[in-house]
Symmetry: C2
């Protein structure tokens, strides 16, 4: 790549660092805008981002037009893998978001506060924001985007979902010319790693989780991952984009993978399924009200021949169904320094490209968001129509299968199969797979079975089937 | 989606059709640009494109800002699935590309001529061009992009590779902040359909091809597909984008799938591989000259655990390896009316978005292309270092495996395995898998074996291993 023949046109008002000039003229008279980046955080993703910006050769040529103006850190003393001039580092994050020599703030702190406040303050100071913070966007996206709209700045969030996989941009632009029917995905690497190892090793959840924690694939407090909360944040964001709708996090039905055992994984495999933690958002089928969506996170039996069934390890995959495109899947590493930094820098490059075409001072909101300004209606989980898998323990006596079948039938639950899978010490283990049924009906049937009115019945496992 | 409150500001100079106004003011004073589209071709993809444009609800809001101004067809009498006002149809394609009431020409004729001439004429008349024509772009891309640069218009080609899968845009933008090491993919649906059926049915090539032709999955003249020429067109385009390089089609080593038999698919499966027609472009490993690329198309043994191994049927998948992102795969339908039209309209929407930010008359080239203006060096296939699979028929006598091993060794070909797979009527069938070797050495060894100096040896099959 021929280097830009950079002639200084205007110098940032600090007049100091040669990396902090603001506008140049490149070769062939092209306008070269150097955007000055303020990094909030120099941890895994922050360092990864800096590493790309400091080493632009063989990359998109606009990477050269991004300069690190400030980097906010917790400690100035810490040894770091990347070397930045000492005067760029500061522990004063507030100073970065209000610095007139910063054009774009990259928020890679994670967590809710001070991330939210810093993002809002950056916006108030007219900075564009690039963030990887799915938790803050899923909760405060409304407030943040409204502030950005008012200030005429961009908030770019490619890194918030699917790590390095181009997800937000394709969904927002290329794929959205389709009428999106459904977005579903494996969006949490930790749980997919755990489920993959459980499946290959026949091991139980607790055992694999402990090992994943030891290896750094799971956090000391694994709640956000294994209870599906991280996946819920991400599907809230994807649903908002795919359906131009506001989705309230509290409305998302969310189940994690703690209750999944080796037993269920084994049965699922025998039945031709892999168990995956799926995040799903879909337009309510057959509903004439456009605003009704299903948004949910739960472990799911995925047919072996479905592309999502073979996504293993820490990888993520986003599967999109639309009209007329059919089915598209975007696959790759869902987390980690390199992949997430790739998404952060992709957003930065998009901003540079915009600055090159956008006359200064133009309201940038026109292209930013077409999101509805009211919450959409989320269909209650009891209204979901889906297939179910359930594992049932009961007294082993003649007629028990008949009793189960009759009880399900009473609640309009049509069974595809009912199989006694094990019997010992007077107990029978029975696995049931239903046809499409209304979840409310299925739950009513299970409640009646579990009430113990007639038989001593336990239902250790209930899973939905894709 | 709230409809735009469209107030006419300026009327196209025909003054007739309400669908042909050119600039509006939308709600909240937003500038609404209606871009007038001239469709060259109303066949499968053209009709699919029109179908999306005529039915914009629940799609990207900018789809509403695209109006069909003209549609060029071969016959005005033909019955069509989509209904357009008769006065928009014409058989005079030249009139469309020079029509002052057309802003963007969509070329979905396919083939080299008149497509190339019409694209160039459209550019000369200051029209932007959206094309699905990989054959024309792979051959005349240079000429076409140079003309576009001179005229200050865009030529958008998302639909040329991978049908509806977002490929060109992610590769050009989001993924290109990475240092791309390799792009490889299944980019021809017909051959993947044939190979998939051969693998599942144990059938031979000719048999499945005939059936695919009967079912409409293969053309009456299947050459472009089964000989890898279509895949070569596509990898030429992907390589040019991934590596900002010009790639000459003639420099691409290209082998098709005619010689693949059920026997090889069976052996590959036993060895843990699927056979796929891969198109591959990669930076020459360990070479300090950035300009050296490998670009090739050939049937390849893909390890079963590689994501490309499980891409079946007419689907396509593009697998991208870069630093620091790692590995990303984009998967979906590689052809067909709906998917290809999705990509065409995605390009149209991008153009509308650009028009909204771009002051009229600005040179649009700045963001269009960073491609080098000279051809890159393509590494000759003899310099390729890869693993090989070969099936060898020879006289069944003691010492023959030793002779083979010795001959390979003489040419620096290190073997991973050499297995006699069959023996009958005095003949032995032997399957050889090598370690990484230089292709030139391997070919020299095969040439010595096939020369018949010592043994009567035939080599019915040679395949590379991923």
């Amino acid at each position: 790549m021929a280097a830009f023949d950079v002639a200084k046109l205007e110098v940032g008002n600090d007049g100091q660092s040669p990396r902090r000039r603001s506008v140049f003229i490149g070769h062939a008279g092209e306008r070269v805008v150097a955007l000055r980046v303020g990094l909030l955080g120099l941890g895994t993703v922050g360092s990864g981002t800096a590493a790309i910006l400091l080493d632009p050769s063989q990359r998109h040529p606009l990477v050269r037009e991004l300069v690190i103006a400030r980097a906010g850190v917790r400690s100035l003393e810490k040894q770091r893998s990347i070397s930045l001039p000492a005067e760029l580092l500061t522990t004063d994050l507030d100073a970065i978001v209000s610095d007139p020599n910063v054009d774009i703030v990259v928020e890679v702190l994670g967590g809710l506060e001070p991330a939210r406040s810093l993002i809002l303050k950056a916006i108030a100071h007219g900075k564009h924001v690039v963030t990887a913070n799915k938790a803050a966007i899923a909760r405060y996206g409304d407030e943040i985007f409204a502030a950005a709209r008012a200030a005429g700045v961009y908030v770019a969030i490619e890194a918030a979902v699917g790590g390095g996989i181009p997800t937000i941009q394709p969904l927002k632009h290329a794929l959205s010319v389709n009428r999106i029917r459904r977005v579903l995905g494996i969006v949490n690497g930790t749980t997919n790693y755990i489920l993959t190892r459980m499946a290959t090793e026949g091991a139980d959840f607790a055992e694999v989780l402990a090992d994943a924690q030891r290896l750094g694939y799971a956090e000391a407090d694994p709640t956000a991952d294994v209870d599906g909360l991280d996946a819920a944040d991400k599907i809230a964001i994807l649903a908002a984009i795919a359906f131009s709708d506001r989705v309230k996090l509290d409305d998302i039905h969310c189940e994690g993978i703690r209750q999944i055992g080796a037993t269920d994984i084994g049965y699922a495999e025998r039945l031709g399924f892999a168990i995956k933690l799926l995040a799903i958002a879909q337009r309510e089928a057959g509903n004439t009200n456009d605003d009704a969506l299903q948004v949910r996170v739960h472990p799911t039996l995925v047919p072996r021949e479905h592309p999502l069934a073979s996504i293993n390890g820490v990888n993520n995959a986003i599967f999109i169904e639309g009209d007329p495109i059919g089915e598209v899947m975007l696959f790759g590493p869902g987390a980690g320094a390199g992949p997430t930094a790739s998404a952060v820098v992709a957003d930065l490059v998009s901003l540079v490209a915009l600055m090159k075409t956008q006359p200064q001072g133009t309201d940038l909101h026109g292209l930013m968001s077409y999101m509805r300004q009211a919450d959409c209606r989320i269909v209650p989980i009891t209204e979901l129509v889906t297939r179910f898998y359930a594992r049932i323990d009961c007294i082993d006596r003649p007629g028990v299968i008949g009793y189960l079948g009759t009880t399900f039938g009473k609640h309009d639950v049509s069974l595809e199969s009912i199989v006694q899978t094990d019997r010992r010490e007077g107990l029978a283990e029975i696995v049931v797979v239903t046809h499409d049924v209304r979840e409310g009906n299925f739950r009513d049937a299970l409640a009646e079975l579990a009430s113990g009115a007639i038989e001593q019945i336990a239902i250790p496992s209930v899973l939905r089937v894709l």
